[in-house]
Every structure is written in structure tokens, then in C-alpha cells.
């Protein structure tokens, strides 16, 4: 009898263990609505006041990143029974189950003798009582926010199976003043709005910035000297350089995914065509030849195809062609006008702006034009840009303006590909034309 009970118990324990191993903590981000995962992010511990300060800051940046993703619900630290525990020891999981934390993030900050900051963290599955990931990073102390974003990305990746997008930046157009005398400046910030700075002074009209995959450069449109041309801006040096020597307005630039090319439109004698420039050889190739407006080109991630906007069929629609310019095919067939196609970094979808019935929409469709889904709608929404994992989009929304020049407020928003979790991205002034960077290398 006793042996029977004992062997049963062993079996039960074994089954429980097997279940736990299978039902690993995981969020399926492809689902429409996800109940946010309760997660406890503790302040990272430190031995000195300075280390504790970094630790507190890092914990808070991670919690804010995870919360903004809409997939996690960071728990109020005041409910924590066991705070400030060194990550080397096993957590008292029972204490975390009491407050319904399903995951736990602990870490330690340490200023090492050479002056660098060492940041280590562990992600625990509270119910399985297992470590899911544990990593350590060294960096200059000023870089502590970046390390926090890198930790957030590691947590996101471990739990969703997708790479994260927290260690990224946004370049956009900052706007001030009445609509007829709008001052526009290039501005850059971390994905969470921190480290904001202006890159141009507002003396020249600038539009549509886009990140290079190598991240040190931005391509954009500048009206410098009343000559609208595509420029490249080096973020580190602040140097601005006009791209090519074109006889007409160049606009709508975008880098190829490998960073070696910029594709753009050039308007001559009123006709806009698509050109691509090899940045290494500076050779230019014309890709379209049609009396219609051909603009807003975007390469597929493998560089084999280009999606663009044209009114060659009578109204603005989306098209896909081969990188050589051959095999042009219309892909949008719905009601209304379609514009600003942007290929997802995953290659599976094309995001766009749509205008129909007096309203603007942000939507996505597959590269064959099927599976159209609209994610956001308003008086004016425009300019979708993809997070590097292809799961989140950012765009801008502009309100109606009044005849006295008031109103017309313009702001950035992010939204999940599922159409859920729309969030305003906080900027110091009005904002438009966002562009998401790749993960910082």
C-alpha cells in the first residue's frame, strides 16, 4: 500500500513536471487579443548608492518597455514581498505566486574596476520555478538605458519567440507653428521617447526621413536653397550631403534592406518616375517609364522586388515590380486610393495608407494584394513604418484644423499588427513622418 502510494506520487510528480515543461511560459503574439502576462520586474540590486540608482532606472525602463508592448502587465512593485534579491540565489517562488506574477525579472548592476557598468539579469518562470534566460552585459555607465532596452528585447524574445524592438530609435519630423508657416525639423529619439534631440534647426523645410539599416545615416527630403532634393544625413557627424545630381526634384527616398541602395522618385517636366542609386558606385538607374505619377517606392527585404504607388490605372493604387523594373503588377483592388506602401522587414506584408469616403486608414496586405486588413482610421492618418520585428507599426495622425489656424495637431502612434494596443508616442512638439530604425547593431 505504502509502496503503491509512493509510486503513484512519483508518477504524479513526474506528470506535473512534464506538464510544466510543456506549458512553458509563452505569449502567442499572432493572436488578436492577448491577456497581458503578469510580470514582476524588480529594481536591479547594487552594492553602492550609484549602482542602486542604475539598478532602479534599469528596472523601470524594462517595466515600461514591456508594458508599452501590450503583451505584459508589470506588477506594482509595492506589492512585492521579496524585493532586492540578488540574482545569484533562487527566488522564493511562493512569494511571487501570491501576487500572481507568472514571470519574474531580477538583476544586478555593478560598476567594475575599469569603470564599466556590468548588468546581469535573470528571467524566471514563477510557476515552473525555472530560469528562462540569464545574461550579463558590460557597457559604459551612460549607456544604461540601452542595456535596459537590450534586456527588454531578450525577455520579449524568450517569451514570444519573436525578436524585440526596444533597442531602436525613431527619426521623425518635429512640427511647430501655424499650418501655413509650419516649421519642420528632423528629430531623433529612442523608441521610448528618451534621448530626444533635433538634427536640423528648422530654417529649411525637411520631410520624410528614413533610417539606413546601418543606422548611422538617414535619407530625407530637404528644400535647401529652394531645391527639393534627397539628402543623406550622417547622425554621428551631422554632415548632410545631397544625393546625386538630378535635373529635377528628387523625393520619397528609402534605403534597400542591405543599405547599399537608395530608391526614390525624380520629377522632371511634371512627371515622377522611380530611380535607384547604388551608394557605392553612385550609379543611377531609372526603373519606371510612364506618364503617370510613380512614387513612394519600397524594396522587399530580399531586394528582389519593389512596391510603389502609381496612378497609372486612373487612381492611386499599389503596384509591385521586379527590382529591374520589369513585371509591373497592380496589387491593390479595393475601393479608394492607396498610397505609401512599405514592405515589412519580415517580407510577409505591405503596410499602406488608404483614402476612401473622406477618411484615411492605415492597413496591411500581402504582397500579392490579398488579405487586406485596416488597423487605424481617422480624418488623417499616414506614413506607416515597421518595427524591425514586423509586429508593430508606427504612423502619424493629424487632426482637422480650424480657419483661424488652430487645431491641426499632429502626433505619432504605434499599433500592433493585430490592430490592438494603439499608443501615442510622446514627442515634445507636434510630429509626423516617423521612421523606425532597425535593432541597433
Amino acid at each position: 500500500m505504502t509502496t503503491l502510494v509512493r509510486s503513484l506520487l512519483a508518477a504524479v510528480l513526474f506528470i506535473t513536471f512534464a506538464l510544466q515543461a510543456q506549458a512553458e511560459l509563452r505569449i502567442d503574439i499572432t493572436r488578436g487579443t492577448v491577456e497581458p502576462l503578469p510580470i514582476a520586474v524588480t529594481d536591479f540590486v547594487g552594492a553602492t548608492t550609484v549602482e542602486q540608482e542604475y539598478g532602479r532606472g534599469i528596472g523601470r525602463v524594462i517595466a515600461a518597455d514591456l508594458e508599452r508592448s501590450g503583451l505584459f502587465k508589470p506588477l506594482d512593485s509595492r506589492a512585492f514581498i521579496q524585493n532586492n534579491q540578488a540574482p545569484g540565489t533562487l527566488p522564493r517562488f511562493g512569494d511571487w505566486r501570491v501576487i500572481n506574477a507568472q514571470a519574474l525579472v531580477q538583476g544586478r548592476t555593478q560598476v567594475v574596476p575599469d569603470g564599466r557598468l556590468k548588468v546581469e539579469f535573470r528571467l524566471w518562470d514563477v510557476y515552473a520555478e525555472q530560469q528562462m534566460v540569464g545574461l550579463a552585459y558590460f557597457t559604459v555607465p551612460d549607456n544604461w538605458r540601452r542595456v535596459a532596452h537590450i534586456v527588454s528585447d531578450a525577455i520579449y524574445k524568450r517569451i514570444t519567440g519573436e525578436s524585440g524592438y526596444f533597442d531602436t530609435r525613431i527619426v521623425y519630423i518635429s512640427e511647430t507653428g501655424p499650418q501655413n508657416r509650419r516649421i519642420k525639423r528632423l528629430a531623433i529619439m529612442d523608441q521610448d521617447g528618451d534621448n530626444h534631440r533635433f538634427l536640423t534647426d528648422g530654417g529649411t523645410l525637411v520631410l520624410t526621413p528614413r533610417f539606413s539599416p546601418t543606422l548611422q545615416e538617414i535619407t530625407y527630403l530637404s528644400y535647401y536653397g529652394n531645391q527639393p532634393r534627397v539628402y543623406i544625413f550622417n547622425i554621428d557627424s551631422g554632415r548632410q550631403e545631397v544625393l546625386g545630381d538630378f535635373p529635377g526634384m528628387t523625393f520619397a527616398p528609402r534605403f534597400s534592406a542591405d543599405g547599399n541602395k537608395v530608391i526614390m522618385s525624380m520629377a522632371k517636366d511634371g512627371n515622377s518616375e522611380i530611380y535607384t542609386m547604388d551608394l557605392r558606385t553612385r550609379t543611377v538607374k531609372r526603373l519606371t517609364n510612364h506618364s503617370a505619377i510613380d512614387t513612394s517606392p519600397s524594396y522587399s527585404p530580399d531586394g528582389k522586388y519593389i512596391t510603389f504607388n502609381s496612378d497609372r490605372g486612373g487612381s492611386q493604387q499599389l503596384y509591385v515590380m521586379e527590382a529591374s523594373g520589369a513585371g509591373v503588377k497592380r496589387i491593390s483592388h479595393g475601393k479608394g486610393r492607396y498610397a505609401t506602401p512599405v514592405w515589412s522587414p519580415r517580407g510577409d506584408l505591405i503596410a499602406f495608407t488608404k483614402f476612401t469616403g473622406g477618411r484615411f486608414f492605415i492597413g496591411v496586405m500581402r504582397p500579392d494584394g490579398k488579405g487586406e486588413r485596416l488597423l487605424a482610421e481617422d480624418f488623417l492618418v499616414e506614413a506607416p513604418t515597421w518595427a524591425p520585428n514586423g509586429r508593430v507599426l508606427m504612423f502619424f495622425r493629424q487632426e482637422r484644423s480650424k480657419a483661424d489656424g488652430s487645431g491641426g495637431k499632429s502626433r505619432l502612434y504605434s499599433i500592433d499588427l493585430t490592430g490592438h494596443n494603439e499608443r501615442q508616442v510622446i514627442t515634445p512638439l507636434d510630429a509626423s513622418d516617423p521612421a523606425w530604425s532597425p535593432l541597433i547593431p
Binding site: P178, Q179, N180, R182, K184, L205, L207, T208, L221, N226, P228, G248, M249, F251, A252, S265, A267, D269, G270, N271, S272, I293, T295, S296, N309, D311, S315, Q316, R337, A339, T340, T353, F355, F379, L380, E382, A383, Q398, R400, S401, K402, A403, D404, G405, G407, G408, D433
Partner: protein, 171 residues
């Protein structure tokens, strides 16, 4: 002082023009009176003996009309637009040293990049017509501002109609 008088003339011409061209009324800065009728300038002349300096931007604005308008997402010239450009061509053929830039604009009901292309088309429509009327092409450059420089404020049809325009400015 002379400048102030000019300002008054432009203002009077604008009000008078409003009676025949209601679309003009929200134009700002006194430069919107593109279709000033002869009677308007006559009544202005009674207030001030001096008109705008011949061959100046003011002259173009007050006595000729500096801009033409377009329908939504269109760049073809209507009969009214052609009439204004015909007067511009006569004027440009009279003042042969003047060079101009034609600025093409769009309303806010379009995406930024498409509107840049559309503004370019509109500016070139106006240019092509002037060239067809005998104005040398190298006297006219074009620039598109897309939806970046509206002249009429407000998100309404009347403002949008004013903003879909090509404006001739002396360089």
C-alpha cells in the same frame, strides 16, 4: 507710405474680386486676388493715384492674377485658369526680363509624397501653357510644395479649393 497705399489697393481689389470669384475669399495676405476685374482696379485708382510698379509681383497679382486653381487630384487647366494664364503670358511677353517660378500646391487630402508629385504636375501644367503661348521655357522654373504650404487655413472644402493651386512668383 507708398507701400501702404499698395497694400490698400490690393485689399480693395481683393474684396471686389470676391463678388465674382467667391472661392477667393479666404486667400491671405492680399495676394489672393488673382482675378481682379478692371472695375476693381479702377475704383482702387480713385483712392490712390499710383498703381503697382509695372512688371512687379504686385502688378502681376493685382492686374493679371498670379494663380490658378485645380480640382481635387487633378492637374488639367479649366477655362478660368487658362484665361488667367493667357493674361500672364501677355504680361510676361511684355516684361521680357522677368523670370518666374511657378509653385505647385496640393490640399491636405492626400499623402505627402503623392502630393509632392501632384504639385509638380500642376506647376508644369501652368508652365506648359505659358510656353505654348510663347513665353520662353528658360524663364520659368517650377517647384512643388505638395501639401506643405497651404494658403487657406482650415480643414474644409473652401480652404482645400484655395490650396489646390499653381502660383506664379517673380524671381
Amino acid at each position: 507710405m507708398r507701400f501702404n497705399i499698395l497694400g490698400m489697393i490690393a485689399a480693395v481689389a481683393l474684396v471686389a474680386a470676391c463678388e465674382t470669384a467667391p472661392k477667393e475669399e479666404a486667400a491671405s495676405g492680399g495676394t489672393g486676388g488673382s482675378m481682379a476685374s478692371p472695375s476693381a482696379t479702377t475704383s482702387a485708382a480713385t483712392m490712390a493715384p499710383m498703381g503697382p510698379k509695372m512688371g512687379s509681383q504686385e502688378d502681376l497679382v493685382v492686374n493679371v492674377g498670379d494663380r490658378v486653381f485645380f480640382d481635387f487630384d487633378k492637374y488639367n487647366l479649366g477655362s478660368e485658369s487658362r484665361r488667367v494664364l493667357e493674361k500672364q503670358a501677355v504680361w510676361l511677353n511684355k516684361y521680357r526680363l522677368v523670370t518666374v517660378a511657378i509653385e505647385g500646391h496640393a490640399d491636405e487630402r492626400g499623402t505627402r509624397e503623392y502630393n509632392l508629385a501632384l504639385g509638380e504636375r500642376r506647376a508644369n501644367s501652368a508652365k506648359d501653357y505659358l510656353v505654348a503661348l510663347g513665353v520662353a521655357a528658360d524663364r520659368i522654373r517650377t517647384i512643388s510644395y505638395g501639401k506643405e504650404r497651404p494658403v487657406a487655413l482650415g480643414s474644409n472644402e473652401a480652404a482645400w479649393a484655395q490650396n489646390r493651386r499653381a502660383v506664379t512668383t517673380i524671381k
